[in-house]
């Protein structure tokens, strides 16, 4: 009876941490943890500038208010992670899964996003400047009141995403697919720096 009880306690205790504690310690100590298990870890408010988190599982992790400037998140899985008010200037998100992220106020300036996946993500009020998003998968994401400025969105199908009141200054949408409403909103904004001449405005 007592063994069963102890066994149950051990199972419950170990399941409280979805992530690998050694991996978390590695990251906190060395600012580097590649191919690590940091699922659901609490990394909120940390200074992780220049850290290497490539190929790591950060799904569901809380990174809100952390500093990831110049960090390497190549191939990392951030599905469902909380990136609220994170500074990720000049960070590498090549082939990173950014689906379902909570990214309100996220700052991505001149970050590298080739092959990144942004599906069902909340990026309202995010600051996305100087990005090349042409080889990024963007679907059903919320960019309301965000800025996607000085960026290339050429060839993307953005019809399922919310671009309401988004600053699109000096961005280009060459051969992108937009809804007629999105096209109208962009034209009504009277911002002549937005290149939507060759965008396809579809019903």
């Amino acid at each position: 009876m007592i063994y069963k009880f102890i066994f149950t306690i051990l199972i419950v205790a170990s399941s409280l941490y979805a992530f690998d504690k050694n991996d978390l310690n590695d990251l906190l100590k060395n600012k580097s943890c590649t191919n690590c298990d940091l699922k659901d870890a609490n990394l909120s408010g940390l200074d992780l500038r220049g850290s290497d988190l490539s190929e790591s599982d950060l799904s569901g992790a809380n990174l809100s208010n952390s500093n990831l400037e110049k960090s390497n998140l190549y191939g990392a899985n951030l599905d469902g992670a909380n990136l609220t008010n994170v500074n990720a200037r000049l960070a590498n998100f090549k082939q990173t899964n950014l689906s379902h992220i909570k990214g309100k106020g996220l700052v991505l300036k001149a970050s590298f996003l080739v092959g990144a996946k942004i599906v069902d993500a909340n990026l309202s009020q995010a600051r996305l400047w100087k990005l090349n998003l042409t080889k990024t998968v963007i679907k059903n994401s919320n960019f309301k009141e965000a800025a996607i400025a000085m960026s290339k969105l050429d060839g993307l199908d953005l019809r399922s995403s919310n671009l309401k009141n988004t600053i699109l200054w000096k961005s280009s949408f060459k051969n992108s697919k937009l809804t007629k409403t999105q096209c109208k909103d962009i034209m009504d904004s009277n911002d002549s720096t937005v290149d939507i001449k060759s965008a396809k405005c579809m019903p």
């Binding site: 600051r127 100087k130 800025a147 400025a149 911002d191």
Partner: protein, 128 residues
């Protein structure tokens, strides 16, 4: 001819944006002005190579309603991160940062980053 026209447009845009700032690169002079005019300070901390800062200068601060609002309510000033020291009591995490400061130098509020004119005005109307 096209080059000349482009230069005129750039010069005009820059001049309009710069006109909004009553004091540049001199925080002490800004405080003196604020006391004299009995107005709080609107201070932009930025630099010339920052895209978000340039968006604010070229798009938001050139709008008449924004200019009028700022001129009526604040002593407007700008400091450049590359050449001016920010007073110790003012904290920032990135540029552009827009501080609202009392005439005796206390920070009353701040906004960070580029934003639309509507958002800018709404936020400052709330914070003022």
């Amino acid at each position: 001819m096209k080059k000349l026209l482009l230069m005129v447009i750039i010069f005009t845009t820059t001049t309009f944006a710069n006109n909004i700032f009553l004091v540049k690169h001199d925080y002490n002079k800004t405080l003196t002005k604020a006391k004299k005019l009995n107005k709080p300070i609107f201070l932009m901390y930025s630099t010339t190579t920052c895209p978000e800062c340039n968006y604010m200068k070229q798009v938001v601060f050139t709008q008449k309603r924004v200019k009028t609002f700022l001129k009526q309510n604040f002593v407007t000033a700008m400091l450049d991160i590359k050449r001016d020291k920010l007073p110790k009591e003012l904290k920032y995490i990135g540029i552009p940062t827009f501080f609202i400061i009392s005439k005796d130098g206390r920070e009353l509020g701040k906004l960070i980053g580029g934003m639309s004119a509507d958002k800018f005005l709404n936020a400052f109307k709330k914070d003022k």
